[in-house]
Symmetry: C2
Subunit: 317 residues, 2 copies
């Protein structure tokens, strides 16, 4: 496919148009999108993938913006994926928040995209994984995934991040909500944003005492960082914490293990895609109706029919 | 598998213990559960599957209880699945509501079960489909699926029903919410419950005028029925509406089409299950690590590897 090859070249060169087009293919769950993500996978594995999660109102988007500016000053290329599973559209609120990022739109070292569920179950996780793969292959050093941390697909998406930052804000009763949502266990870095407000130290102390209770991180003690994202305060500390966590992952072989697991996932997905493709082919054959009748009336076992489809259809594939 | 055969016999005889055990297998997503549902499929296709959906507070559970009693008096065997995707547990609220149903617990012609998400995405739809298959094979004439009609898995679940009843109540601002949620398009029967309250006629009129706007049902005009489920008023009308819709589906060949689509779905699922099984086998082989390395570094195409796994592993299956 010439189209696909051209697009791949564009992605490797970091062309924004090619990246945007590839992401659209992937987001729409199109066949070319699946193929593209699959073929780009081997060209990635270098980016540091950072999840940013927290309740609405804690200032996640502002933090992502401020951190992006900081990382750009350090010379990193930054990709941003804002994921909103609740919205069937690309969320208006997210777009509004992004107005502040307009400066970055002109910057070739920043790419930002909102991903929303396209209605089919599990589609959002897959699209996010594909989008990550693409940005990784396009040479972005840091990829930030921003999401409201609730719901099944979001948990799945957070598992794609090497480092998860949990963002809280003072006086939002977040301390208790956080335990409830199990958010403490997933955070490797905690950010108390809007730290110029009353109660910031109290929030820090609550997190610290709760972290003390869970001794699940024998070697990595999650830092708690106070920020005021609105004016960029604390971004250097966040940057350093990210750097240290990345170092920790590297030294303990955890990045390699991550890559290994993701590669296994790619193979599993390829097997399942192949199955779907063979079913689509089998549907077009004359034998399909006979098979459906046989399974419906019980004269054929669905398992046997599945094997037949595989054996028979893969021959001609 | 002797266990599986015993269980199947128990299900065919309508034994509650066998049914309950089978449902647990299915709900837990266990291999035996998948196999059981697959093997029972051909023994079903007779039940009338009825979805009952509506916002919390409209009295869905009470309606289901009252309708169940009525259907029992008519001589039907009734299976009930209460589906709650939001709850990782079997919801306390649902259990509470069911206390009123204790009479039915002793009745061999009624079987009730709450299904909740077991944490894995898409798992709830599959479990519900399996549970339906089992109750159908066990000889229940009417199967009621009760769910709060929001969220992706619930939409998928509602698509398993032959007839969907949308339940509303006066004065809940449901009219506007209903349009928003697209609930009008999925309803083939509308029930205005708590019709002894003020505003019932207003709710009926709102639904009627909104139904007039959507002309998606050229041959079936959804009836709007007022009920007071608490004392059983309106159940006969609901029963008749269900009967007429079932007749409509039969006459237009829609029941047959439904069965056909579900049979195709069973085959697709069997193909995908076979794929998962082969991957599990391939993981145990020495070649697995080599394959992962090759895909990770790009010396092998995931698609090729997927085909290899199929060809190679299915030989020995």
């Amino acid at each position: 496919m010439k189209d696909l090859d051209d697009l791949k070249q564009g992605v490797f060169q970091g062309q924004k148009r090619a990246i945007a087009r590839g992401l659209t293919w992937i987001e729409q769950g199109r066949q070319e999108g699946k193929l593209l993500a699959q073929q780009l996978f081997a060209h990635g594995g270098r980016a540091h993938v950072i999840g940013v999660t927290g309740s609405p109102g804690v200032g996640k988007s502002t933090l992502v913006n401020a951190l992006t500016l900081h990382l750009r000053h350090e010379g990193y290329k930054v990709g941003i994926l804002a994921v909103d599973p609740s919205s069937p559209f690309t969320g208006g609120a997210i777009l509004g928040d992004r107005i502040r990022m307009q400066d970055s739109v002109m910057d070739p070292g920043v790419f930002m995209r909102s991903l929303a569920s396209r209605g089919h179950l599990g589609g959002l996780s897959r699209a996010t994984f594909g989008a990550l793969t693409l940005l990784d292959a396009a040479g972005f050093d840091k990829i930030l995934i921003e999401t409201v941390g609730a719901g099944q697909s979001e948990v799945e998406i957070m598992q794609m991040a090497h480092t998860t930052m949990v963002v809280l804000a003072p006086g939002m009763g977040d301390d208790i909500q956080a335990i409830k949502a199990g958010i403490l266990e997933i955070g490797q870095i905690f950010v108390v944003n809007k730290a110029d407000r009353d109660g910031a130290d109290h929030t820090v102390r609550s997190i610290r005492s709760m972290l003390g209770l869970t001794s699940e991180h024998p070697e990595w003690m999650p830092p708690i960082i106070k920020t005021v994202a609105e004016d960029g305060r604390g971004m250097e500390e966040v940057n350093q914490a990210l750097f240290r966590h990345h170092q920790y992952l590297t030294e303990h072989g955890l990045l390699d293990r991550f890559r290994w697991t993701q590669t296994e996932h790619v193979i599993e997905q390829a097997v399942s895609d192949l199955g779907e493709r063979l079913v689509r082919k089998a549907r077009l054959e004359n034998s399909w109706a006979k098979r459906v009748v046989a399974v419906g009336e019980g004269s054929a076992d669905p398992d046997r029919v599945a094997e037949e489809i595989w054996r028979h259809t893969i021959q001609e594939d």
